[in-house]
Amino acid sequence: MTTSFVGSSIQRREDDRLLRGEGTFVDDIAMDNTLHAAFVRSEAAHALITGIDVTRALEIDGVVAVLTYDDLAGTPLAAPLRVSQPHPAIRHARTPYPLARDEVHHVGQPIAMVVARDRYIAEDAAAVVHVDYQHLPVAVDLVGAARGEDGPAHSDMDGNVYASLSEHVGDVDAVLAKAEHVFEYDLRYERAAGTPLEGRGLLATFDELGGRMRLWDSTQAPMMVCHGLAPLLGLEPEQIEVISPDVGGGFGTKAFQLYPEEALVPWAARWLGAPLKWIEDRKEAFVGSNQLRSQVTHVKVAVDGEGHLLALDVRYLHDNGAFCQFGILVPSVTASELSGQYRIPNLRFSFDAVYTNTTQCSPYRGSGQPYATFVVERMMDWVARDLGIDRAEIRRRNFIPPQGMPYDTGLSFPHGNRSVYDSGQYPAQFETLLEAIGYDGFAAEKAAAAAEGRRIGLGLTCYVDVGGTGPYESTKVTVLPDGSVSVVAATSDTGQGHETMYSQLVADQLGVPMERVRVTTGDSRRTQYGFGTWGSRTAAVGGSSAVQAAATVATKAKAIAARLLEVDAGDLELADGAVRVKGAAHVAVPLTELVIPARFGRTSGGESSPGLTAASYWSPSAMIFSSGAHGVVVEIDPETYDLNILRYVIAHDCGKVINPMLVRGQVLGGFAHGIADAFYERRHYDNAGQLLNQNLMGYLVPFASEIPQVEVRHMESSSPVSIHGVKGAGEAGSVPVPTAIASAIEDALGFPIDAMPQSPLTLFELAQRHGR
């Protein structure tokens, strides 16, 4: 093979278009006679709706319809939306009705939908829809809700715990009972949310004659939206065209569940017989788009005198907000990684998943993983402290060694896979980090700073990160009559650079220039089966399916060429847009000349199926795990308690790298999210369930100025699971950051940091409490 695009930092093919403002996002798509929707959303966190008066709204010129629950009666939309991730442990599944029936469970829940000639009018009308509420007890605080002291969040439940799950390996109790040392710790993580630049957005139009629904949806999972909508619209999936055009970020908030709006907009477009658009505004995103977890944990850990981990018992509460469309996915992902990078022979977790009267939660970049890392790695620091062992040393003593791979943690991952680490070089990765962050010289550095009245601290953390989950992903690769190549992938790009990534992979397999590869993602007109983009899975799982499909096409091309050239297929290679004899490049047949013979299929040469085309539904046989270690040196202002990051090092292993520049972009973008999650972004609810920071002045998405320089060191442990050795890179950058920062702040200030995120205010209050 002469060309090799895989492994090089090829410029993103998307950027020219996006940077010129020539991208096409949902709101850029204009259709004649489009109507616009606005939503009347609950102002109460928990209440009975005793009346809805829409008369004033209907009087406004330009208003076409105002829909409430009663208008949906007798349609599939009169039932609660489905749980997209069911689990037998869920005892009380509660999901929203597309429009609230009689009870609202969080501020922002849709109650009525206004459709008008334009959005201004729709908003004017929404503002005069009058809703009468009879307020009910509100559950906001996770612990209070779990104990049943607050709420219930759903008046038909007694408490708020909707699911409990527990699993164990070994005999935790026996080891805890006789271990040399048993330590107990409490930890807490507060609520944040993905804040994509582009909010959600929908444009739906129904073709009455053709019987086809077309929906442009700013989603990470168009195929699943298509299949999810079918029963609600009474159509076959093939009649529903879901297209995700350019998407300005998702981070999990746009993963599949079917949001109420996602069901209502296409349904109403058909009912009204006109294209209907809804673009989420920032205010709606704060209360209407999914958020991410708050969890409270109690840890019991048994160690021997040398700090070897013997048993770990983790109990936690998980706040899922008002509903559970994602089942118990987030707390289960936390559970699956409670072994961290360490050998822990006896391990047990149990959690209660809890409803509160807040916006519902779902995975957001890293899902439950940042929390697993927080629990395990803070614990490692504390065990080291309590035993008087060096923080680095205790990790060295417990790492899973490379020769221990694959390593079965004994835990399960959601969807039935076992949490088995496929590969990784944890000890070497850690030493790389220690050297780069200057661990050995840090004590002297800290003392010198202290002599100047400065408080600096060093933080460490290791982590694993799921880098490719099933069930499968699909890609179809076709050589077109002009010799160019079409790649159709079921995943949806939300800014990652999938067009570039897929074309690198396929161009290498087929020996064509990258410019000859055309990539279509996220369009259910072109492919029906597939999942979507989340969980760092696209390059590993979608990428494997692309490689497999392209390799099949290459095999077919060789078989036909072998016949035409009268040579053995084994002597052929694909290069420069042709199939040629290895070592005799002039004996070749261009791909263009293979297209027609291939159309005749097996009759013409015994190939398996007609066409220079193949589809792959590649499924990973086991889990794929990326890993890494982060180190940071921070300085805390002793007066304002502001955080200054002096240096930050990431040692990162995502297996084989397709495009180092794209990986770097993912890692750094994730890192920025991690900084946000450590010190800036936090959803503040008051006791009445009102979100106090509903805009970007109060909810602090960090600016570029808050993101420090970072040094990235790459390691490469090829995955034995994915076809091309690739592991995911999308989430790993963010997962360990809050934990590393917590570790560093603790080192700088000298009191335990057991909750995240922190802020100058929380550090001030902690300092007061610790008499500093």
């Binding site: 850029d28 002045m697 602090l700 100058p760």
Partner: protein, 299 residues
Amino acid sequence: MPAPKDAIVKPPPFTYHRPATRFEVDELLGEYGADAKLLAGGQSLVPMLNMRQMSPAHVIDLGGLVGEPSVPVWRGAESTLWFGPLVRHVAVEKSRAVLEGAPLLSKAMDMVAHPPVRSRGTFVGAIAHADPASELPAVLVLLGGQVRVRSHNGIRTLAGQELYAGPFELTIAADEWIDEVRLPPGRRSDRFAIEEFTRRDADFAVCGVAATVREVGDVLVTALAFFGVGATPRRFELSAMSSDDITGGQLDLAVRELVAARLEPHDDIHATAAFRRHLAERLAVRAVRRAATSERSTE
């Protein structure tokens, strides 16, 4: 694909006016008064409209005023700095006249928002907006500036301190507006500093303080104005101190007393009243020390 007309900003309906002269503004305000809002740089008003936090029936855009200076100018025998209603933040930031006559304002302007906001937001708009977290009203009050207020009934001048009734609230009548802000010339010997604490770079301050230090004989007279803490900006003087007092613990004591007696910090999600009090103290001490030990502003 061209951007469609139905972009996602959606203020409530209003009637738009674009007067060409200050007199026309007077007339329009005389007619619509409480139902009207002036639009200057729009950096505060437009987001509030889009979030539908207010719904004025009339918006009067000052952007069409003819012949208004776009930069601050020296005027009068006393060499007062004058700011017209269309002087943008960026013009203040880059102004040589401000750097020489009111260097504290140049410094403060550095802390106001990001360049895109500064390229549209106006100085007078920020003074009128009365955001208690803004640097600019505090600077106006600390430097003893004045505002000229007008209406169809006439023109009057107020001391900066008299302008503010509360957060986002002015003492002037519904038909009055500000057509000029004036800052007195600084003394060559004055020294100054401004310190603020923000959560992110260029955010509104959680707490901040501007300080001037003036030599009077062999003592130093210090004045302070806080922002982000308290409802309206006020100017406080500390009792005269020697420069040793300022570098030593005397200053800390004086500031603590002032903060305890005169400030009424509030709680919000970024800071409790206790944390704001702490910040006000520490930032004031920092500011005064920095001012006292700084080079004189202009020599």
